[in-house]
Amino acid sequence: MAKSKGQTTREKVEAGLPRRRRKELMFKFVGMLATTVGVVFLGVFFSTLIAEGSSAFKQTFMKLDIELAEDVIAPGGELDLAYADFDGLVRSALREAIPEVSGRRDRRELYRLVSVGAAYQLRDLVEANPELVGTKQTMWVPASSNVDMLIKGNIDAELDESLRPISDKQIAWVGTLQDDGRIETRFNKALFTNGDSRDPELAGIKGAVMGSLYMLIVTIALSFPIGVAAAIYLEEFAPRNRWSDLIEVNINNLAAVPSIVFGLLGLAVFINWASLPRSAPLVGGLVLTLLTLPVIIIASRAAIKAVPPSIREAALGLGASQTQVVFHHVLPLALPGMLTGTIIGMSRALGESAPLLMIGMVAFIVDVPGGFNDPATALPIQIYLWADSPERAFAERTSAAIIVLLGFLLLMNLAAVILRKRMERKW
């Protein structure tokens, strides 16, 4: 009986196999496809980012022979840095470089080739070296962003004149300058040394980076000790009661609360109620502290849990108090894990932007902040602001700022990975 029935079973199984194999392959293929989606997105994302942003690290400069005329800069023998017409000096140098330009309108168009930053550069030069007054200096000054875009090929010269921000005449003049060897692209130092600016060629991320730095200092100074203390209490001291359960539930929930809600909290409590200054890194840091605390607490608790109980028992057996056990034995052993969690939390804080919008860090701020109460912005916010600007040159800088931000994040995560690898213990 078994044999005859076994035969039919076998036949039935065999009959279904091809269909089932096809399904299996299909399923596997869909899985592979799904896995590729994320990876492909990452690839597209990074390649567009680099293609878009890498040119922002270069900047077009033009060489001008500028006459540091004494009667302009130091009328009556006194240096007059505040009111001297450095712009005029730059312009006359430009006229000299392209002598064929005449007429008010053409001249005005000509002047647009050079950045307003040229005058600042000139002023700084004179301020540092007053003895140069009266001489003629050959200087490389930044070109305007339109020229920059033209040189980098981001403006199509073939396009109809009305469709591009730079006129035929200007293109011709740039050609002349190029032929004279007066145009060169160099490393864009301004991107790293300047604050924000309305002029793309002068806009830099230093202000934003410093703002982020101040915020992170506040955040790490508060969230690391508080997070570690909370983790120690919850793991080592807390009795199992309602209060500790409540804390536990709260921490897990806070880790999943939308970050913008923390912004509302910051606005209502820190700015409105405690009257702390708007747009200040101090407030940003406080908000980010609350935001990252759950991350740090959860990671620190995991690190404490990983310390084997035998160590605690050994120390307790020698007559150490519970506090001594924790601070002499558990904490040092759990510290690498806690630091790793803190770095991860900090990298999250560095990339966060929504809550900062709420507390006014979204303002246009030119000056590089010098302290915790100065108005500041943060690197992600700078990206947000630049992404909103219509100029082509800002799009390029946005990508560059993103590359810098991702670079910082990468460094932090790398540090976390190395720390974890190096300090990893096997019990």
């Binding site: 596997k28 990452l42 804390i247 709260n250 939308p258 209502a268 919008l357 006014g360 992404a387």
Partner: protein
């Protein structure tokens, strides 16, 4: 004296107190050789004194800093001539602002008159006095505390226990911050939301179909009546969230399945960190990518098949948000799948199931609670996501289910209403808090359920 200087000074005093306290404890028992006669290690006596020096003074400092601004303002206002005291709260606020600006040398929005100047001078004077009093008091507290502790040092003093009790309280306080944060969130959004609902009925807010949050500056201006019907925001949020989940759930789940069941160890070792990179990209970067790359691409793709697509379509924002959430879904699904005991998998394979049959008929049904919990957390994340929609979804409060149209979301409106200088108690600003309350309640609900389901599910197989 600046408060930073004061804090530094207190820190210095506390450090000194530590050494004095330690030294005194040893000298009481007759030198370092006789430490065993003390109840605790000498260092604990040092800490004990240092705590007495630092903590009361710092507490005073904190209290002072919190109370000082309001106190000074009250004093200045009470010093103003009669005429000013009858001003409406809004006007008074403006006046105080001007006084403060004048006092700190900033730009003032009105002509400076004598009263104002006098008030500003008064303000500065009070501020200076306050700082002096604070410095004296804080240092006095520190000295007094130190003196008390110093006198209490005795070989029988249980210094270690005292110090440990203070440490314990610090730990408790630190862990309670989580609760205070939640309470703070609830209170701050709740109070402002209640104020909003006093101006705009809650029914209009919850069920109204029209959102145009303009408040009249003058009663007779055109379009003076703002309307605060939030339904278009809710539907917009849901639409973007739905698109994101349509992307993230299948892709994330299948990725988790493929990596757990089919891929070789090498592929897994490459793909998982890459997905983590995806999870680590800041949302503002996703927003930039959505607005500058994906939105135009969606628009072109739509136009090429004859569809009219808004340049800030819900689709573009939803797609990018979906990709952002893939790692979350895939890691939570991975956890859920891995929690299913190997015995299940072996049992199914032993009966002659193919891998896909094992997965779809045995493992996934078993892992379903965990996966659903994970999806709830992902939905909560999508609803609360801000930067992508702010940059890519636009501001038009359209009541539509068409993914090619522009929609706006709760988070976008919160940002729009609060960014820029706003009067704090206008209906417009308060509306943002009402939206924040909705957002908090909904995400809290999803999180609590999601976290609970996930936890229960894990316990089931532990």
């Amino acid at each position: 004296m600046q408060s930073t200087t004061l804090i530094l000074l207190l820190g210095f005093m506390a450090t000194a107190a530590f050494y004095f306290g330690r030294g005194r404890s040893l000298s009481l028992v007759g030198g370092p050789g006789h430490g065993t006669a003390l109840h605790s290690l000498p260092g604990y006596y040092g800490y004990y004194v240092a705590i007495w020096v630092a903590i009361p003074a710092l507490a005073l400092l904190l209290l002072w800093v919190m109370v000082e601004p309001k106190l000074i303002v009250t004093l200045v206002v009470s010093g103003l001539p009669e005429a000013y005291r009858d001003l409406s709260p809004g006007e008074l606020n403006l006046l105080i602002n001007n006084i403060q600006n004048l006092a700190s040398g900033d730009v003032v929005s009105v002509a400076v008159d004598e009263t104002l100047q006098a008030a500003a001078n008064q303000f500065n004077q009070y501020a200076a006095q306050s700082r002096q009093i604070l410095a004296v008091l804080a240092l006095g507290f520190a000295g007094l505390g130190g003196a008390i502790a110093w006198r209490r040092i005795h070989p029988d003093l249980r210094a270690r226990n005292r110090v440990e009790r203070v440490i314990r309280w610090f730990l408790i306080a630190a862990s309670s911050i989580a609760i205070f944060t939640t309470v703070g969130i609830v209170l701050s959004v709740l109070f402002e939301a209640i104020r909003f609902f006093q101006k705009v009925p809650i029914t209009e807010f919850l069920f109204g179909l029209n959102w145009s949050p303009q408040m009249a500056i003058r009663a007779d201006q055109v379009g003076s009546s703002g309307s605060f019907g939030a339904v278009p925001l809710f539907t917009g949020t849901l639409l973007v969230t739905a698109i994101a989940m349509v992307v993230a759930v299948p892709v994330g789940l299948m990725t988790a399945i493929y990596l757990a069941e089919y891929s070789s160890a090498r592929v897994r070792a490459t793909a998982k960190p890459l997905l983590e990179v995806l999870a680590g990209i800041p949302t503002v970067v996703y927003g930039f990518f959505a607005a500058l790359t994906v939105a135009p691409w969606v628009r072109q793709a739509g136009e090429s098949v004859g569809l009219e697509v808004a340049s800030e379509s819900a689709l573009a924002a939803g797609l990018v948000m979906g990709i952002m959430i893939i790692p979350l879904v895939s890691s939570l699904s991975d956890d859920a799948i891995n929690a299913v005991p190997t015995a299940m998998r072996d049992g199914a394979l032993g009966l002659g199931s193919t891998r896909s049959e094992t997965m779809t008929k045995v493992i996934l049904p078993a892992a379903l609670p965990g996966i659903v919990g994970g999806i709830l957390l992902a939905v909560s994340r999508a609803i609360g996501e801000t930067m992508i929609v702010v940059m890519a979804a636009g501001l038009a409060a359209n009541l539509t289910a068409n993914p090619f149209e522009a929609v706006t979301t709760v988070t976008v409106q919160i940002v729009t209403l609060l960014v820029g200088d706003q009067e704090f108690d206008s209906a417009k600003t308060l509306a943002a808090f009402a939206l924040g309350l909705m957002l908090f309640v909904v995400t809290l609900f999803l999180n609590v359920i999601g976290l609970n389901v996930v936890r229960k599910y894990r316990e089931q197989y532990d």
